[in-house]
């Protein structure tokens, strides 16, 4: 007996699925407006102690020590840019895994999985709304924090945006692998919290990695994000970069392909394993 599927997947249906996922997330996000306010003010609250600590390290408002490491004494612009990029990194990096966890808890993961849509597409769809809302909240955050602490980009914004693109695309690869881990472990909150904190810290969100203790510098240099953050700052704030800018951009592009390949491979392997075990719907 031949079983014929009623579904007729095509590019159009895949795009429609993507749109529907994004629309659903958009509605859910704005259903809780306090979360949006929290996304704006949380980063400002976290960097306020750094602002005042920086004052305690400065003479006549100039952080000379910081300038010796980074090439700019404007440490608040440095940190604010790092915070905005981190918002995007978190969205892609962990967003897909968290979305899967939420679907698992809500009990809809298994039924979504049965839809004739590429599973990677479902994962990518879950980041579209977050990317848009992150862009909106980060922009508002930047305006408020800029008014409070000062944000003075002096370089090439377009080049900075262009450089951040391969970094974000590469992060999707990591996100796929992490989503696979969530499928396998089902409860990965502590792992996520700790590794997220470490990656953020060691890739230089708040400070130039050159200032790290010597034994931590190789760890920082092994993280692709380090070069992304460094290059974007190099373009926008004209800071002193770890490697020449063109070398960093080549590295980011290589990492992009590598991470996408490893991430996709890992996700599909884990997903097949989980389907074989039949644990997809468990949480």
């Amino acid at each position: 007996m031949e079983i014929t599927s009623l579904s007729q997947p095509s590019l159009r249906t895949q795009l429609r699925a993507l749109y529907v996922i994004a629309l659903k997330d958009w509605k859910v996000f704005w259903r809780y407006p306090l979360n949006a306010a929290s996304n704006i003010f949380q980063p400002i609250i976290w960097i306020t102690p750094v602002y005042f600590m920086g004052k305690a390290f400065s003479t006549n408002g100039s952080a000379l020590g910081f300038a010796a490491f980074s090439g700019t004494g404007d440490y608040m612009s440095f940190i604010l840019l790092g915070t905005v990029l981190t918002n995007f990194i978190l969205t892609v990096f962990w967003g897909m895994g968290y979305a899967l966890k939420n679907d698992m808890d809500a009990g809809v993961l298994e039924s979504n999985w049965l839809a004739p849509v590429s599973r990677l597409l479902i994962l990518v769809g879950r980041t579209l709304t977050s990317l848009l809302t992150t862009a909106i909240t980060s922009l508002i955050m930047l305006v408020i924090a800029g008014a409070l602490f000062g944000f003075r980009p002096t370089g090439n914004t377009f080049a900075a945006l262009l450089t951040s693109l391969p970094m974000l695309v590469g992060l999707y690869g990591f996100g796929f692998a992490f989503a696979g881990l969530v499928l396998l472990m089902r409860e990965a909150n502590t792992l996520v919290d700790v590794s997220s904190f470490l990656v953020q810290g060691l890739s230089g969100t708040n400070f130039p990695v050159q200032s790290l203790p010597t034994w931590l510098i190789p760890v920082a240099l092994a993280l692709p994000l380090t070069y992304g953050l460094d290059a974007v700052r190099g373009w926008l704030l004209q800071t002193r970069t770890i490697l020449p800018l063109n070398v960093e951009i080549v590295l980011i592009i290589i990492f992009m392909f590598l991470m996408l390949w490893i991430g996709t491979w890992t996700f599909y392997r884990v997903e097949r394993h989980v389907r074989t075990l039949g644990t997809l719907g468990q949480h």
Partner: protein, 289 residues
């Protein structure tokens, strides 16, 4: 003919039975605490990595030759910038954990569906909240001890004061920190989803209490707000006791406000709980979530 059916309660509430109820809650919380040993990992890692973010930023601000550090030492009067930051961040973490643990204790019970049935038992209801505090205090003491050990062993942070004075300052801060937690727990049970309030309160501590800087560096209006937050006195007192060898006389300007705030927050916490209890009985909302 009217028949009056008297149904006396089988419960015989008294001081001893209240104490037994309190002990039962403490025992239950301790059992739950030990049941999920993943907290051991968190207990080892968080004391280290949260302050590290600020310590590494401070290193960057100090510059390759450490010239910025001399300015920081002069501004803050600190002899050890790592210890200075660790005390501030540890106090922040203490308040943060209490808000999540004690503040959400009744809410968690509500989510488990056991709050309403517990509420019906003839026990002192405040014991549900108070009983949760015991194991939380023990875990917090472990957290602070591990922080001290980790920074002492790995970063060679050394005390230049009395451990007893540090403990005395912490003891004076317990009523205000946990009183705030009690008030918060009652608020959470009323408004249900209260994560934003945790962010607000811990945000106030982070901005105004000088966790990584001296309060004197803040603008005047911010310093005025800092004076109304007990955590400001706790951070200042602990730093003085740990690194400036402050004795009880020098610590009095911090201890007195801490005790005053403690009394205030305990009273507020208790009366907020009574108000919530009355409101819950009137509206019947205790089992809803």
């Amino acid at each position: 003919m009217e028949t009056i059916i008297s149904s006396p309660s089988l419960g015989k509430p008294g001081f001893l039975s209240d104490l037994r109820a309190l002990w039962a809650v403490v025992h239950r919380e301790w059992t739950i605490f030990r049941r999920y040993p993943s907290w051991i990992i968190a207990l080892l890692i968080w004391p280290l990595i949260f302050p590290m973010l600020y310590i590494l930023t401070a290193r960057a601000l100090a510059g390759p030759d450490g010239s910025g550090l001399a300015i920081f030492m002069k501004t803050t009067g600190a002899s050890d910038f790592i210890g200075y930051i660790v005390i501030g961040t540890t106090v922040w973490m203490w308040q943060n954990i209490v808000l999540w643990d004690v503040g959400f204790s009744l809410r968690n019970e509500q989510m488990r569906g056991t709050l309403e049935s517990n509420w019906l038992s003839p026990t002192w209801r405040f014991s549900y909240l108070l009983g949760h505090t015991g194991p939380q205090l023990v875990s917090m003491l472990m957290f602070i001890t591990i922080t001290a050990l980790e920074f002492g062993l790995l970063f060679h942070v050394r005390l230049h004061g009395s451990v007893w004075m540090i403990l005395l300052t912490m003891l004076a801060a317990i009523p205000s920190i946990y009183g705030l937690g009690f008030a918060f727990a009652s608020l959470v049970i009323t408004v249900k989803e209260a994560n934003a309030f945790v962010f607000l309160i811990r945000g106030l501590v982070m901005i105004f209490c000088g966790i990584t800087f001296p309060i004197s560096i803040l603008p005047g209006w911010m310093q005025s707000i800092a004076k109304w937050l007990p955590q400001s006195y706790l951070i200042h007192g602990m730093r003085a006791a740990a690194f400036s060898n402050a004795g009880i006389t020098e610590l009095l300007p911090d201890l007195m406000p801490l005790l005053a705030f403690g009394t205030f927050w305990l009273v507020v916490g208790y009366f907020t709980f009574l108000w919530m209890e009355r409101r819950a009985r009137r509206t019947g909302a205790i089992g809803q979530y």
